[in-house]
Every structure is written in structure tokens, then in C-alpha cells.
């Protein structure tokens, strides 16, 4: 029991206490803890059912919905490294863009089958991430921020210079996708796009969920909270960091590939610093280190941007900046973190649970 306090942050402690209160039985070892975590909660099922709502409620916004699903996948990939393993990255768009260009080039040069193209995008970005991970796992603090930032800019410059391959600033033209499974064409209203993006997001979400609620996921959180202690107890922290970075890069590549396939074009914007910054903002807004943080953040961010698309993009970053400052100063765990804090507070617990009359100790 005692080691839990060392390994997990205060937040996890609160969860396990809540679990104990809920079931009314003492929690055993790590195995039981993970088993308790892995059960699907009603609110999660409700969330995923709600993602189907756009088909019925807002059929005119399916293109936006598919963009949100893609961005949510990208935010989820960042959450794996930033929220769970504590790797700060200012250049995650590098993998998104690499996947996007891989999928685009494959389709342009004659192979327009979506699923294999998506797989190739994920593999290519994963390979790049694996190569980068040798560096990433070994540096920390400012050097880490600078290397991720520099690597992102490096790739952007490379794509800009190699205009014979990527089309440079004009973007990659002539991407033509074949129908999905040979049946569903990518239509103008985004019906196929949203189905496709949503299913891919859901599958990769299940993978991430399983990953996080495994001993591997626990050791990642341990590395985030105290890497020196993790080394001291003999955990292979370097190897774990490399593995999660590779997985995250592959997921970001899949997200990029999805964007290419659903829009049938690739622009230099996929590698932009702005994209790395935006996804970071979404994740922080939703709550880093929570599986749904990136998803909620992406929904709020993308819907807000769509609603305010009339204003000059120069001014769009004013509210974003204010939001970042506010979240850091007043809401350190994002929206979901704030909600969890409210839900765990004594007053709320008293309110939702029927009051049990206190038994007197004396008969």
C-alpha cells in the first residue's frame, strides 16, 4: 500500500480514495488498482455516443466534425508524451506534418487506397519518432524545448526548400483518394470523412487507454513525477520514454495522414509552429495527463475558432493568449482537472450522496 504514495501524484491518490469510498472495500495491490481503472464508466460511454450526434443534429457541420476528430487525435498523441511522460514538446507538428506528407505523396504517385496510406503515414512518422527518441529521452529542460522546437522548424524549412517534392509554399496538389473499402467515396459534405476519422480516433483512443492503464502507463507517470527515483528502483526509464515517444509520433502521423486524406491536399501549414502551439493550447485547456483532456480541448478550441472565424486571424490569438495565462495561473489542471476537483470536494460529495445519520459511539 505504502508505495502508492511515492509513485502516484496526489491526484491519483484522490482517485484511489474515491474508488475505495465507492466500492466500500479496501483496494489491494497495483493489479487491483489497474483493474478498477480500466472499467468503462457511464460518462465515457455517453461521451462516445455523443460523438455520433453530428450525423443527426448538425449534418451541415460534418466537415468541421471530422477536423475536430483529427485534431483530437493529434492532441491525444501529445497527451501521451506531455501529460503522462512529462516530455515538453514545442514541435509535435513535425510528426503530424511528416505523416500528412507521407500520405499525400503515396496518394499522388498512384496509390490512393486510404487505409494502407494511413498505415504508411503512421509507420513513417513512428520511424522518425523512434530516431528522434534517442535524443529526446536524454535531454531535459531548456535543451529539450529547444531541440523539439528546432526540429519542427528544421522539417518546415526542409519541406519549404524541397518544393520539387512537396510543392513548397503552394502545397501538394493532385492528391486523389480512392473510395474507402472501394465503396464509400470522400464526399463534399464530409459524411465519409467523419465516419472514417471518428473510427480511427476511437480505435487509437482505446489503444491509448489500454496503454495508460497498464504497468507501462504507471511507470510513465512515475517518470513524469520523479525520474531519479524511477531510475533508483530499477525502472528502465530511458527505454520507456523512447517507446512512448515513438507511439505518440506514430499517432500524430496517423492524424496528419487523416487530414491529408479527408482534405485531399497538403499545405506547409501542417508543419507550422502555430500548429504545435495550437495543439498544446488545446491540451492544456482540456487538461493534460487526462485521456479526455485533449479531446475536450480540441472540441472547444475548434468550435470556438469556427464561430469566430470572421475576425482577423491576427486578433484571434489575443483571447488564446489570455486563456493560456488564465489557465496556468488559476486552473493548473485544465477544465477537466477543475471539474474533477469540484467533484472530489467534500461539499459536492455531501450534496450528491444521501446524508447518513451519524451513529453514536455509545449505545
Amino acid at each position: 500500500m505504502f508505495w502508492r504514495g511515492y509513485w502516484f501524484g496526489a491526484e491519483t491518490m484522490r482517485h484511489s480514495r474515491a474508488a475505495m469510498r465507492g466500492t466500500g472495500e479496501t483496494v489491494g495491490g497495483p493489479h487491483d488498482y489497474l483493474q478498477a481503472q480500466i472499467r468503462w464508466r457511464n460518462i465515457e460511454i455517453a461521451f462516445w455516443l455523443a460523438t455520433l450526434a453530428p450525423f443527426i443534429l448538425t449534418p451541415n457541420y460534418l466537415v468541421l466534425a471530422s477536423q475536430i476528430a483529427i485534431t483530437a487525435l493529434f492532441a491525444l498523441s501529445l497527451d501521451l508524451i506531455l501529460g503522462y511522460a512529462g516530455i515538453v514538446s514545442l514541435g509535435h507538428a513535425a510528426f503530424f506534418g511528416f505523416g500528412a506528407y507521407t500520405a499525400g505523396l503515396i496518394a499522388k504517385y498512384g496509390w490512393g487506397e486510404p487505409l494502407s496510406g494511413l498505415l504508411a503515414a503512421g509507420l513513417a512518422a513512428g520511424l522518425l519518432g523512434y530516431l528522434m527518441s534517442f535524443i529526446i529521452a536524454r535531454v531535459r529542460h531548456l535543451a529539450l524545448i529547444m531541440i523539439t522546437l528546432g526540429f519542427g522548424l528544421l522539417l518546415l524549412e526542409a519541406a519549404n526548400s524541397a518544393s520539387w517534392l512537396t510543392g513548397g509554399a503552394d502545397g501538394l496538389q493532385g492528391v486523389r483518394m480512392w473510395p474507402l473499402f472501394g465503396l464509400f467515396t470522400f464526399d463534399l459534405w464530409g459524411t465519409t470523412s467523419y465516419w472514417y476519422s471518428l473510427v480511427v480516433l476511437f480505435l487509437l483512443f482505446i489503444v491509448s487507454r489500454r496503454l495508460i492503464h497498464s504497468p507501462f502507463g504507471l511507470s510513465l507517470r512515475g517518470i513524469r513525477d520523479n525520474i531519479i527515483r524511477m531510475r533508483a528502483i530499477g525502472a528502465e526509464s530511458l527505454a520507456h520514454l523512447q517507446q512512448v515517444y515513438t507511439i505518440s509520433a506514430a499517432m500524430a502521423g496517423v492524424a496528419g495522414g487523416l487530414l491529408t486524406q479527408t482534405t485531399e491536399t497538403v499545405s506547409l501549414g501542417v508543419l507550422d509552429f502555430q500548429r504545435s502551439a495550437d495543439v498544446l493550447v488545446m491540451l492544456i485547456l482540456g487538461g493534460a495527463g487526462r485521456l479526455y483532456g485533449g479531446l475536450i480541448g480540441a472540441i472547444i478550441f475548434m468550435v470556438a475558432r469556427d464561430q469566430f472565424s470572421g475576425i482577423n486571424p491576427q486578433y484571434w490569438y489575443f483571447p488564446i493568449g489570455i486563456l493560456l495565462v488564465t489557465v496556468v495561473l488559476f486552473l493548473p489542471n485544465g477544465i477537466l482537472g477543475g471539474l474533477a476537483q469540484i467533484a472530489a470536494s467534500e461539499r459536492w460529495q455531501r450534496w450528491i450522496r444521501p446524508r447518513v445519520p451519524r451513529r453514536s459511539l455509545l449505545p
Partner: protein
């Protein structure tokens, strides 16, 4: 060929001095408090806009605006430091990054709102314009002025750090903050002053940069990358390191853009990533 090489060297050195002015403050404050201040170039931008406003709207002479650019950036930085930054000295890198990048976004949007997105014009006085030729090399008067100014600042900084009591306190705090505190040095006070001075220098750099690289709202983001390269390559808390890294970066960037225009900034980022892999703490860093 040779003369063009000297010309590139001269222009690159002037550009490097500009980067030195913009980044030296960040290097020292990062070394002291480990506070990742991505908003450093915002203070440079404030200095630039103060100069533009004073010259174009109030008709001040260029040289008279420079002290005010310095002061405005320093005062703004103290206001930010007192109200926001100091809450986050013990927070994670990520929180510091996010707060300061949020401020950068706000400042970029605010500058676009007040001044528009166009490049700001600046009319240099006649004695700073033009150029003359020395042994076949064309030297711009303004660039010479910039180099002279930066060397004066460098000399003043080195002397102040080496020979004053305050400089000793700053060096002690950079070397070992906790030990310095233990010896009774007022690290917070020293840091606040250093922070103001460093941001003031960035403001001066921003004002001097207008004629060389131009001034528009994207300044705070565009030069952030260069400043961070200088700081991380030079090593934290090292003035000599910043000077060397800024010179190196200025010359190699100018040379790269002159001789290999098709690959642009690619070379710079490659050199930076390579140097950081080789020495993650920078060329002159000890930690």
C-alpha cells in the same frame, strides 16, 4: 570574392551584435532563476514600438528615443515580473512556457491592433545613414554605430559583473542560487534588478533592430527562435557565451542567406540541433 566575404562578415557581425543585445538579458535571468521566459522578445518589441511612436508621432530625434525604449521595456518587465512571473519560479518548465507564450500571443495581437500588421517606417538622422568604403569593403554607418553601441554594452556588463558588489551577488546567484541565499544574499532583489536590466537591453535591441530587420507584430515570435538559439547554444548565465553564440549565429545566418539562398534558415536550425546534441548545456554552459 574576398571583398564580398568581408562585407558578409561585417553585416553578419552587426546582425550578431543585435542578437546579442536582444538575448543577453534572457541568458542571465535564465541562469539565475531557471525561468523559461519566452516573452523576452516581447520586451524587445515594446522598445521598438516606443521608438517608432516617439519619432513618428512626437518628432523626437532617434538617439533621444533609445533611453526611453530601454526604460519602457524595463518598466514593463518589472510589472510582469511582480504580478505574474514570480508565482511560477518553482513551477514546471511547461507552466512557465505556457504563461510566457500566452503573453507573446497577447502582445502580438495587441501590437497588430494598435499599429497594424505593416512594417513600421523609421527615418534615421542623416549622420547615421549612408556608407563609406574602406579598402574596398562597403561599411554601413548605421551598422558601425550598432556594433559600437553593443561593444560598449558588452564592456559595461562585463565590468559591472566582475568589479561591483552587485555583480558579485549576481554571479553567486547564477552559480548556486541556494548557497547564495544561504549566505544572506537577497537573490530575489538581485533577480528583479537583473530582469529589468536584461529586458531593458532587449528593448534597446528592439529599437536598434528597426532599421536592420524591420518591426512588425510578428517580431516577438520571429526573433524568439533566434534569441533562444543564442541562449541555449551560448550556455545559461554566460555573457561571453552569449556574445560568442550571437556572433556565430549572426555571421552564419547572413552568410547562409547570401551564399545559399535556396536553403534559407535550414542551416541555422541544423547547426543548433547539432550543437545541442553535442553539448546540451551549450558551448560555455557548466550545468
Amino acid at each position: 570574392m574576398i571583398t564580398s566575404a568581408f562585407g558578409v562578415l561585417f553585416d553578419g557581425f552587426a546582425y550578431g551584435m543585435l542578437l546579442f543585445l536582444l538575448s543577453v538579458g534572457l541568458s542571465v535571468t535564465l541562469g539565475m532563476m531557471n525561468f523559461v521566459n519566452l516573452a523576452h522578445c516581447t520586451f524587445g518589441m515594446i522598445g521598438g514600438y516606443v521608438t517608432v511612436t516617439l519619432m513618428n508621432n512626437l518628432g523626437w530625434p532617434f538617439l533621444a528615443t533609445l533611453p526611453l525604449a530601454f526604460a519602457a521595456a524595463a518598466i514593463a518587465s518589472v510589472a510582469f515580473e511582480r504580478t505574474m512571473f514570480r508565482r511560477l519560479y518553482r513551477a514546471s518548465d511547461l507552466d512557465q512556457c505556457l504563461l510566457t507564450i500566452g503573453l507573446v500571443f497577447v502582445s502580438v495581437a495587441a501590437a497588430a491592433w494598435f499599429y497594424g500588421t505593416i512594417q513600421q517606417p523609421v527615418n534615421l538622422p542623416s549622420y547615421l545613414r549612408g556608407s563609406f568604403t574602406l579598402v574596398g569593403v562597403t561599411l554601413g554607418v548605421y551598422r558601425l554605430f550598432l556594433i559600437g553601441m553593443s561593444l560598449v554594452v558588452l564592456l559595461a556588463l562585463v565590468l559591472a559583473l566582475e568589479y561591483t558588489r552587485f555583480g558579485m551577488q549576481v554571479r553567486a546567484a547564477v552559480d548556486n542560487q541556494r548557497m547564495a541565499r544561504g549566505l544572506g544574499i537577497n537573490v530575489d532583489g538581485a533577480f528583479a534588478i537583473t530582469f529589468a536590466l536584461g529586458s531593458g537591453l532587449a528593448g534597446l535591441g528592439g529599437a536598434l533592430a528597426i532599421d536592420i530587420v524591420g518591426l512588425d507584430p510578428s517580431f516577438a515570435l520571429a526573433y524568439l527562435v533566434y534569441v533562444l538559439i543564442v541562449v541555449s547554444v551560448g550556455g545559461l548565465g554566460s555573457i561571453g557565451g552569449s556574445f560568442a553564440a550571437a556572433t556565430l549565429l549572426g555571421i552564419s545566418d547572413t552568410a547562409g542567406k547570401y551564399y545559399f539562398p535556396q536553403i534559407g534558415s535550414f542551416l541555422i536550425y541544423l547547426v543548433m540541433v547539432g550543437l545541442l546534441l553535442w553539448r546540451p548545456t551549450g558551448l560555455f554552459g557548466r550545468r
